[in-house]
Symmetry: C2
DNA sequence: CTGGGCACTTACCAAAAGGTGCATACTTGT
DNA sequence: ACAAGTATGCACCTTTTGGTAAGTGCCCAG
């Protein structure tokens, strides 16, 4: 009775170096802005650096660039440098990146569906420990 | 090529304090072990602390407890203390927590489906900057 | 000629996240 | 009696993360 079979067995334990697929995924998108960047680019198609910065405005240049480089190194986004004189570069998703972005959709929907709950949670958090700020990011 | 209808418009911009639902969600599951805990409990049903620890073995007691408390405070898991003499406590998901766990399924599947890619990525990361370790976590 | 934007880069720093280890109160096994 | 297991709490310290500020070339508008 302890464990019926509530949530389906979507996680095969015992994989290479990860406890499960979720574990593997998390290691790739761990970074304060990665999920957001992926998602944003997924929606807007090739996006210029400046656009991203304005979109994810809580992030600093340093962070954005850093995360973008990692995403690029991880084969999730593709950087295109037009080598024009006023610098021009844009970022787009690789097939891998797109598939990940799709997997993020449910999370986004969850967030929208439970906005109220999330907001209450945050109100309480703020009440408990003041002086809190910052944005999201998938742990690390 | 640019943006067919890749990822649908599941993210309504301009929400209360978040850029989108994804943003909101991320703020709730940001924590190195939260997604894993949620997922694990979702699969096993009410789980005792000791089980969790053995399951997510890369996490330390401190971390586990801390994350569990946050998840509890955020109304995602429910802690049940049987107040027995050899301490006995177990954690289960609230409806909210279960729905979130479901939203995590795609990420888990993605991880399994792209295990090879993820592994290659990590091999390269290790090669680039040695002395790296640690587990996942959803940013912060 | 000055200011501003683009796309970054670098250096320096503060804060947060995470890890280790010890302690607790009580019971059970050896 | 002693080690071990249970579920945490706490102090201390290191690593990682993230932010700030300033600089770089180059071009265009005023």
């Amino acid at each position: 009775m302890s464990k019926t079979s509530s949530a389906g067995p979507a996680c095969t334990p015992t994989l290479p170096g990860f406890t499960c697929g979720l574990d593997a995924t998390l290691r790739v998108i761990s970074g304060k802005w990665k999920p957001l960047i992926l998602y944003f680019v997924a929606q807007g198609g090739p996006t210029r650096y400046g656009e991203l910065r304005r979109a994810v405005r809580d992030a600093s240049d340093k962070m954005l660039i850093q995360q973008l480089k990692e995403l690029e190194a991880d084969g999730l986004v593709k950087r295109t440098d037009y080598k024009e004189i006023p610098p021009r570069v844009d970022y787009s998703l690789t097939p891998l990146g797109e598939s990940l972005a799709q997997a993020l959709v449910p999370l986004c929907l969850w967030g929208e569906a439970n906005l109220e709950a999330v907001n209450r949670v945050f109100a309480e958090r703020a009440a408990a420990g003041a002086a809190r700020s910052g944005a999201p990011g998938l742990s690390a």
